[in-house]
């Protein structure tokens, strides 16, 4: 081999190596059990796509939301795949911040996605995010305690029944609270629960002209019921309790009932963590006979920001992570009970899943019962069951949540909290140009 041939060969090898260099996808995600599990199962994807490497940025939900919003609004281009909630998808898609998912592949079977979840991620017939796991809310209750109270939990209880059962189950001397509900202030904490519950009472955030409705009797009925029930049968310091605090209380056997995310079902029935794993029953979120249940609809989704330079590789990953094939991988390695729930119809038709997850039917029924486009009894100008899909809602929801949390803590009356909520919301909606 002469020198010329050697140099030519070396240069070619360098050029080829340059072209063959792996593309690195940066994926922003939250530290939820299902998301963390996905990070350990990506070998299947990288083996099939050796030219794509994956880097993860895991952050707490609110930090992630702020971080990703900054990056996407300034076109920073730091992320190739985003984990975002059902709240953000329609807003960000409208802003042109997300790429439509049009190359998910022939095997993807978009029609298998649960219709309620899919509709929240679709704009102008284009899917802007693929659901990784979905959830609604439902009643989780202690079968032994309700039996002891001499009651039988119906599959679809009313708030009247829940109130009666909670008060009968309460045994403060034994450390048992009849009911545990969210009280911690935040648009995704107490306001997720209270907004969804208010739908069952016929309340709504805004009328068709975006006029706030906190001065209406439906909201007063909702908040009166909530505060009174929590005072009679809730845990001490409930105004500081969010999902995690209530989960800890329920797992320690300190709650007769807990109305919260369906995803909690796998936690409370896991004997490794829960002292009441074999005593838990499930029911639909309660109603008041007006035709709407207080169950929300949420999904964590994977989306691709418009600023990415690696859209094709990113869509390949999104397709893999939200596919039926991924569910099979989780089932094979971690068992069917650990499969991310709430996204695909086929999962709920799977006999093995039904056997492994006793909460499967109730989860599906809860998700199907939620209607983000018609969340309440009366018509609304917005989309969203437990939130209002407008950019102002994060701030508004948290401010109103602080007022309602203060009412629960006894720092102000229900009437004062509602009056202030009406005042603040009217001011902000006028400022935002919604009220002319």
């Amino acid at each position: 081999m002469n020198l010329k041939t050697f140099l030519l060969g070396t240069c070619s090898a360098v050029v080829i190596a340059g072209f063959a260099q792996a593309e690195t996808l940066t994926i922003a995600t939250v530290n939820n059990g299902d998301m963390v599990r996905m990070q350990t199962l990506t070998d299947d994807f990288t083996k099939a796509n050796p030219d794509i490497q994956l880097e993860w940025v895991t952050l707490e939900e609110n930090v992630l939301r702020e971080r990703v919003t900054t990056d996407i609004a300034t076109k920073g281009g730091q992320y190739d795949v985003l984990t975002i909630g059902t709240y953000e998808v329609p807003i960000w898609a409208k802003q042109g911040w997300l790429l439509p998912l049009e190359k998910l592949g022939a095997d993807y079977d978009v029609d298998d996605l649960l219709p309620a979840i899919r509709s929240g991620l679709t704009m102008d017939d284009k899917l802007y995010a693929a659901p990784f796991y979905g959830e609604s809310s439902m009643v989780m209750y202690r079968k032994d305690l309700i039996e002891k109270a001499g009651l039988t939990m119906p599959d679809a209880p009313t708030w009247e029944f829940i109130g009666e059962a909670a008060r009968k189950m309460t045994d403060r001397a034994a450390g048992i609270n009849g009911i545990c509900l969210r009280g911690k202030a935040g648009w995704g904490e107490n306001m997720a629960f209270l907004t969804a519950t208010s739908n069952a009472f016929g309340a709504r955030w805004f009328d068709e002209n975006w006029k706030p409705q906190f001065d209406q009797p439906e909201w007063k009925a909702t908040l009166d019921m909530y505060v009174k029930l929590m005072n009679d049968a809730g845990p001490q310091g409930a105004s500081s309790n969010g999902f995690n605090e209530n989960l800890a209380l329920f797992q320690q056997g300190k709650c007769g009932m807990w109305i919260d995310a369906t995803v909690a079902a796998s936690f409370v029935t896991n004997p490794k963590d829960s002292t009441v794993a074999d005593k838990v029953g499930f029911a639909l979120a309660p109603d008041t006979g007006l035709g709407k249940r207080g169950n929300w609809l949420w999904a964590w989704n994977l989306a691709i920001p418009a600023g990415t330079q690696k859209a094709d590789a990113a869509e390949k990953f999104v397709s893999w992570a939200t596919s039926k094939h991924y569910l099979d991988i989780v089932a094979a390695k971690e068992g069917w009970a650990n499969v991310p729930p709430g996204t695909r119809t086929s999962l709920y038709e799977n006999a093995e899943y039904q056997k492994a997850a006793p909460f499967a039917k109730m989860t599906l029924d809860s998700i199907n019962a939620a209607d983000p486009k018609n969340p309440s009894v009366k018509p609304v100008p917005y989309v969203g069951v437990q939130f209002v899909a407008i950019p102002e809602f994060q701030g508004l929801g948290t401010t109103v949540g602080q007022l309602f949390s203060a009412a629960l803590a006894g720092q102000m009356t229900v009437d004062d909290a509602l009056a202030q909520a009406q005042q603040v919301t009217t001011r902000e909606m006028t400022r935002g140009g919604y009220i002319k």
Partner: protein, 274 residues
């Protein structure tokens, strides 16, 4: 009698100081204790006796590469401290030994920048970083941390330098020392305790800085603050893992603080009593 009263007073003050110190240290202690519990134990209410399991540490390391974050923390805190000293020693010298009518105003202005909420300048800073290609880079973050801590560093050094008699520097000048010779060979050796404590404080501040280090990084330059943030979860009880991650993140700075506490206290109280 006077001696007895004095001893009693010392004992009371000592006990009080210990109680205050324990109250301040307790959250850190409880974090360390929780890190040696299982997740089930961690949620079972208050207990000072852990089972001693190290499963959370294993899980934390399996989920994230601790050493990559650790290395970034070391580089960022040492780098920003070095850079801050390089700028602040001459700056403090000029303010301490060649003050003008506006020196006090400049010092106050510098300090006032610390009072501005960081989030107010998030978008402009993010855009600058984006345009200069500094997002998720150690260089960019080192400069950022230097800028954040510079007002405090200059203030501290200014206070120490003021304690040094100007006549010594004048004598050095009479002996023919150049400006830089005066600063580096005469002033700096005399202010070593002050510079050392300033350096230590700056390292601690840079190590603990969580607003910018989380918002301007993704994977390459992310330090231990981002490592801790990745274990906080809104849905799921991972308290033992979060405690293990926190313990791993604070351990190096805690150990450094412990070994250098004499130097730190000496520096912080330098010039406090005349």
């Amino acid at each position: 009698m006077a001696r007895a009263v004095s001893t009693r007073k010392t004992v009371v003050v000592t006990i009080f100081a210990w109680i205050v110190a324990l109250i301040i240290f307790f959250p850190i202690l409880y974090t360390i204790i929780t890190s040696f519990k299982s997740e089930t134990e961690a949620i079972q209410g208050f207990s000072l006796i852990p089972s001693g399991t190290v499963e959370s540490y294993g899980a934390v390391q399996a989920q994230s590469n601790y050493f990559k974050f650790f290395l970034n923390s070391v580089v960022l805190s040492l780098g920003s401290t070095f850079l801050a000293l390089l700028i602040s020693v001459p700056a403090a010298w000029s303010m301490a030994f060649s003050p003008t009518a506006k020196t006090k105003d400049i010092l106050m202005w510098m300090l006032s920048t610390k009072m501005m909420p960081a989030v107010a300048v998030l978008v402009p800073i993010y855009l600058i970083f984006r345009d200069f290609g500094l997002l998720d880079s150690r260089i960019g973050l080192t400069v950022m941390l230097t800028m954040i801590n510079l007002p405090i560093v200059i203030w501290m050094l200014y206070t120490y330098f003021r304690e040094i008699p100007g006549e010594i520097l004048e004598a050095a000048r009479m002996d023919g020392a150049s400006l830089w010779g005066e600063i580096f060979y005469v002033l700096t050796p005399m202010a070593v305790p002050g510079i050392a404590s300033t350096m230590l404080l700056n390292i601690i501040l840079a190590w603990n800085e969580a607003f910018w280090t989380i918002r301007l990084t993704t994977t390459n330059a992310a330090p231990l603050t981002a490592f801790i943030a990745s274990f906080s979860s809104p849905q799921g009880l991972f308290w033992a893992k979060l405690s293990a991650a926190s313990t791993l993140a604070i351990a190096p700075i805690l150990i450094m603080g412990w070994f250098s506490q004499k130097q730190l206290v000496r520096g912080l109280t330098f010039g406090a009593v005349k």
